[in-house]
């Protein structure tokens, strides 16, 4: 299958902040979480995909079409939900639906109605009068029913309460049952990453740190509890305390320990959250 999004050597300078060069491919059928410290350039990257910000160099293709402002017909097949909806405040949910739905040929009214009822959203109130959490719920209820090939969500769960987060995850999983769809989302919530993401794209200070398959990343780090700590550093060693050693190459560490007759009391995988913190340190 062709890539749904192809970002090649894209870079951009904004007020002295250097973003990129970034390269990233998104395949259909996958959910990619864009993860990074605040101000790492995640939102700017999403905007560049949508042609809302222009890269200084490099190339972006969406559904095979170049993102260069000439032919924008691909936009009907892509949903973008920014952190803050611009220009929505004066409209009610009902108004917004009537404006948005006709733009998307595959608009799914049943999904919209179900989400409105699940999230218990008042459609007759102006967007600007809703709390940030309800605004986010309404935005999501206006995003998923568009049934586009690509869904781009900038921090979709940031203001949601716990039950709503779970509802949203269920809705998104169901949305992804159509296997030719793809999702990119930025998030600081490890719950989103654990339950939704297939791939993680990590960014720090505008630089990409890597594109990881979640389970391979999770299997790549281990903590060893040892009777006696050998003189170091050991192969794979990232950090050590009196009796614990964290490794980013567990096989090499284990081999060394067994060759040197160092008994291991216990060994555990690291939580994804800890691995991300190590990488973004």
């Amino acid at each position: 299958m062709p890539e749904w999004i192809e970002i090649k050597d894209v870079s951009k300078k904004i007020d002295g902040f250097q973003l990129g060069p970034v390269s990233l491919s998104i395949e259909p059928g996958t959910i990619t979480a864009l993860v990074g410290n605040n101000g790492s350039g995640k939102s700017t990257m999403l905007k560049m995909i949508m042609n809302l910000a222009n890269p200084d160099s490099g190339e972006i293709r969406v559904l095979g079409k170049p993102v260069d402002g000439k032919d924008e017909s691909w936009k009907r097949h892509v949903t973008f939900q920014p952190q803050n909806a611009v220009g929505w405040n004066a409209y009610t949910g009902e108004d917004l639906k009537r404006l948005i739905a006709p733009l998307y040929p595959k608009w799914d009214e049943a999904v919209f109605e179900r989400m409105i009822s699940l999230f218990d959203i008042p459609l007759n109130k102006r967007f600007g009068k809703l709390s940030p959490g309800v605004q986010q719920k309404l935005s999501l209820s206006l995003a998923l029913p568009r049934s586009t090939d690509i869904l781009i969500l900038d921090e979709p769960t940031a203001s949601l309460d716990i039950p709503s987060k779970n509802l949203f995850m269920d809705c998104l999983v169901e949305w992804m049952e159509q296997e030719d769809r793809a999702v990119i989302l930025t998030t600081h919530e490890t719950e989103d990453i654990r339950k939704l993401a297939d791939y993680l794209f990590l960014m720090q200070g505008g630089k990409p740190l890597g594109h990881f398959e979640k389970d391979i990343l999770a299997a790549g780090y281990r903590r060893f509890w040892l009777h006696e700590m050998p003189a170091g550093p050991l192969p794979g060693e990232l950090s050590r305390t009196e009796n614990q050693l964290v490794s980013d190459n567990p096989d090499a560490t284990e081999r060394y320990l067994s060759e040197h007759g160092s008994p291991v009391i216990d060994t555990k995988a690291l939580e994804l959250e800890e691995i991300i913190s190590l990488l973004l340190k």
Binding site: V173, E177, L196, D198, Y199, D215, A218, A219, A269
Partner: protein, 129 residues
């Protein structure tokens, strides 16, 4: 929901753990022929594992004849021949014994000691029936 319990601390690859447990559920008759398995995406969320890993496990199980994917309908448990069921059960039981014996050997148990523990455990569990 499937009663699958993954150990992320185990060195056994996750896709292998999923395969083994699904095989045991099917061979043990807990999942009957025709039973609809969760979609790859739904199981991915439930087990907190990527669709890439789940897909790999499903593909392996499909090529070994335990499940089948019907395009547009989903994935279902297949009728498994009794020879295959027997083979799976034997392999699973043997693997458990191997693990237990390996554990005892790690603690420097002798063969006699291991046999004694085995006999005692068998007697205690046998009486419990």
């Amino acid at each position: 929901m499937l009663p699958i319990r993954l150990s992320k601390d185990s060195r056994e690859p996750i896709y292998h753990q999923i395969e083994k447990q699904l095989k045991a559920l099917i061979a043990g008759g807990h999942l009957a022929a025709g039973f609809p398995l969760p979609s790859i995406r739904a199981l991915s969320k439930e087990l907190e594992i990527s669709v890439i890993t789940i897909r790999r496990a499903y593909q392996d199980l499909e090529s070994q004849g335990f499940i089948e994917t019907v395009h547009g309908k989903g994935t279902f448990v297949k009728e498994v021949q009794s020879a295959m069921k027997q083979k799976t059960m034997t392999a699973s039981v043997r693997a458990e014994f191997e693990r237990a014996i390996q554990n005892a050997m790690d603690y420097d148990y002798t063969v006699d000691e291991i046999e004694k523990v085995f006999a005692e455990t068998l007697e205690r569990l046998g009486k419990g029936e």
